[in-house]
C-alpha cells in the first residue's frame, strides 16, 4: 500500500468516526429532549427577559407620569375654582330677588361637588332667599353627580358636632331624597327612629337638639317636620329602588 493510499484510508477512517460521533450526538440530543419535555419557562424568561423588563419600566414610568399630570391638572382646576367662586358667591350673597339668587345658585352648582360647602354655608346663614336658592343649588349638584354628593349629604345628617342647624338637616334630608341617595336609607331610618322616641318631653328634646348648632327652638313641631321630611325622602328612595 502506497503512502497515498494509507493516507486516504486514514482520512476515511476519521471521516467514518466523525459520522459515528455525529450520529451518537444526535441520539444523545434526542434522548435529552425527551427527558426535558420541550422548552421551559426559564428558557422563555431568559429569552424574553430583557424585553419584559423594558416593557414594565415603560408602563410604570407612564403610570407615574400620568398620575403626576392628573394631580397637577386637579390642582390647577382647584386653583381656577378658588379664583372664580368668590365672585360668584359675592353675587349670590348680594342677590336682590329670589330669581337672581336662584340663578346664581344654579351657576354655582355647575362646579359640582366643589359647590356643596359654600351652598351649605348659605343654608346656615338663615333667612329665606339664600337658603331657598342654596337648596336649589344642592338639588342640582345631587342630580348631576349623586355619587360624589350623596356621601357629603349623609355626613351632614349624621353630624353630631353641632356644626349645622336643624333646618340644614331638614333641607339635606329633602335633597337626599331628590338625589336618590339609596345608601342613605339606613341613616334616614335611624334618624326617624331617634325622633320617634322623643315625644314632647322638654328635657329629651333639649338633649337630642345638642347635635345641632342651636338647640333653642327645637320642639314637637320641629320633630314632626323632620319626621315627615324623612318619610318623603324614604318614599322616593323606595320608589326608585322598585
Amino acid at each position: 500500500m502506497t503512502d497515498v493510499e494509507q493516507r486516504v484510508a486514514a482520512v476515511e477512517a476519521r471521516l467514518e468516526s466523525a459520522f459515528a460521533l455525529d450520529a451518537r450526538l444526535k441520539t444523545i440530543e434526542g434522548d435529552l429532549r425527551k427527558v426535558k419535555g420541550g422548552s421551559s419557562l426559564r428558557d422563555w424568561l431568559q429569552t424574553l427577559g430583557p424585553y419584559v423588563g423594558g416593557l414594565v419600566v415603560l408602563f410604570v414610568g407612564y403610570w407615574i407620569k400620568d398620575s403626576v399630570t392628573l394631580a397637577l391638572e386637579r390642582e390647577k382646576l382647584n386653583l381656577a375654582y378658588a379664583q372664580q367662586m368668590p365672585a360668584l358667591l359675592k353675587t349670590l350673597d348680594e342677590s336682590d330677588s329670589q330669581q337672581v339668587a336662584d340663578r346664581n345658585a344654579v351657576a354655582l352648582a355647575m362646579y359640582g361637588k366643589y359647590a356643596i360647602s359654600p351652598l351649605l354655608d348659605r343654608l346656615e346663614l338663615g333667612g329665606d332667599v339664600l337658603p331657598l336658592a342654596a337648596q336649589r343649588g344642592l338639588r342640582i349638584v345631587g342630580f348631576q353627580d349623586s355619587v360624589e354628593a350623596c356621601p357629603t349629604f349623609r355626613r351632614v345628617i349624621n353630624d353630631r358636632t353641632r356644626r349645622f342647624k336643624w333646618q340644614t338637616h331638614k333641607t339635606l334630608i329633602r335633597v337626599i331624597g331628590q338625589s336618590e341617595c339609596a345608601d342613605a336609607r339606613a341613616d334616614l331610618e335611624s334618624y326617624r327612629a331617634a325622633l320617634a322616641q322623643l315625644g314632647s318631653d322638654e328635657q329629651q328634646l333639649r338633649t337630642f337638639a345638642q347635635r345641632y348648632s342651636a338647640d333653642e327652638g327645637f320642639d314637637a313641631e320641629t320633630v314632626a317636620s323632620l319626621t315627615s321630611e324623612i318619610d318623603r325622602a324614604l318614599a322616593i328612595i323606595e320608589q326608585v329602588k322598585t
Partner: protein, 276 residues
C-alpha cells in the same frame, strides 16, 4: 330612552326653566340674615317700606314711620307679655321684632310662595309686614299720609288651606270711612292680631296648648277690632279659623296624656261649627 340621557334632558329642562323664571320677573327681595339670631324666639318681621313718590320719601313723618312702628310695637309686645304673665306666671311669650333692611317684597304678596312660607315658618316667623307709603291730597286740602300695608302669616300659609284661612292680607290706610291720620299708620292694630294668630298656630303644633289658646283668644279680639274698619271677607275667614283652631287645641290638650295644665278643667266642646 336611556336613563343617563333622560337625566341630561331633565337637567337641561330644569336649567332652562330656572333661567326663564329669572328673566321673567324681578322683585326687590333681599335675604334677611337677622332671622337666624335668637333661634328660640318667635319673630315679627318688619321690612323696609317703599315710597310711592320722592315727595313721600322726603316727608319726615313717613320716613320715621318704621322707627315709630318699632317703638309702638315693642310697647304692644310688652303689654302682651305682661298680660300673659298676669294670666299664668309660667306663660312666656318669646316673641321679638326683627328688621330686615333693604327687603321690599312685592306689594301684592306674590313673593310669598309655599316654599318661602315653610322656610319662614321654620325660622319661627309668625308674621311679616311690608308696605308702600304715599302722600295723597284730598280736593283742596293738604297732602296726608296714605299707605298700602301687606301682612303674611307664614305658619298659617304653611299649615292651613288658603280657603280656610287666608294668610296674606294687603290693607289700605286710611281705611274707608276713617279719618286720614298718621296715628292709624303708627299703630297698625292688625299687626299684633296677625302675630298672635301665627304664634297660636305654631304653639299648637308644638303642643304648647296654653300659649296657643291664649294667643288665639287675644287674636280673636284683635281681629274683631280690625273688622270695625269695614266688612272684609278675608278677615271673617281668618276669624273663623282662629275660633275653630282654639277649640280644636283645647280638645287636643284634654286628650293629651302628657298635658296636666288648666285646659283639662275646661268642659268638652264640639268644635264643628264653632266659628259660626
Amino acid at each position: 330612552m336611556t336613563r343617563p340621557r333622560l337625566r341630561r334632558l331633565q337637567l337641561t329642562a330644569c336649567l332652562v326653566l330656572t333661567l326663564a323664571a329669572a328673566g321673567a320677573a324681578h322683585a326687590d327681595l333681599r335675604n334677611c340674615d337677622n332671622l337666624s339670631d335668637n333661634p328660640g324666639d318667635y319673630k315679627v318681621v318688619l321690612d323696609d317700606f317703599s315710597f310711592a313718590s320722592p315727595a313721600a320719601q322726603a316727608n319726615t313723618q313717613l320716613a320715621a314711620l318704621r322707627e315709630t312702628l318699632q317703638f309702638n310695637f315693642t310697647g304692644q309686645l310688652d303689654v302682651l307679655r305682661a298680660s300673659a304673665r298676669q294670666l299664668d306666671r309660667n306663660l312666656q311669650v318669646p316673641m321679638r321684632l326683627v328688621f330686615c333692611a333693604g327687603r321690599q317684597p312685592s306689594l301684592d304678596g306674590s313673593d310669598f310662595t309655599a316654599a318661602r312660607a315653610e322656610q319662614l315658618s321654620d325660622e319661627r316667623v309668625v308674621v311679616e309686614m311690608w308696605g308702600k307709603l304715599d302722600l295723597s291730597a284730598a280736593a283742596g286740602g293738604a297732602p296726608s299720609p296714605s299707605a298700602r300695608i301687606g301682612y303674611v302669616i307664614p305658619p298659617v300659609q304653611h299649615y292651613v288651606d288658603e280657603a280656610d284661612a287666608p294668610p296674606v292680607h294687603v290693607m289700605a290706610y286710611p281705611k274707608t270711612g276713617a279719618v286720614g291720620s298718621i296715628a292709624e299708620l303708627e299703630n297698625l292694630p292688625e299687626l299684633p292680631a296677625f302675630a298672635l294668630i301665627g304664634l297660636g298656630t305654631k304653639a299648637a303644633k308644638a303642643n304648647r296648648y296654653d300659649l296657643a289658646v291664649w294667643a288665639f283668644t287675644r287674636a280673636e279680639a284683635g281681629i274683631a277690632d280690625a273688622k270695625l274698619g269695614g266688612a272684609n271677607p278675608r278677615l271673617e275667614a281668618l276669624l273663623a279659623y282662629v275660633k275653630r283652631t282654639a277649640c280644636e287645641t283645647r280638645t287636643t290638650a284634654r286628650k293629651d296624656p302628657n298635658y296636666k295644665g288648666p285646659l283639662t278643667l275646661v268642659p268638652a266642646q264640639a268644635c264643628a261649627g264653632v266659628e259660626l
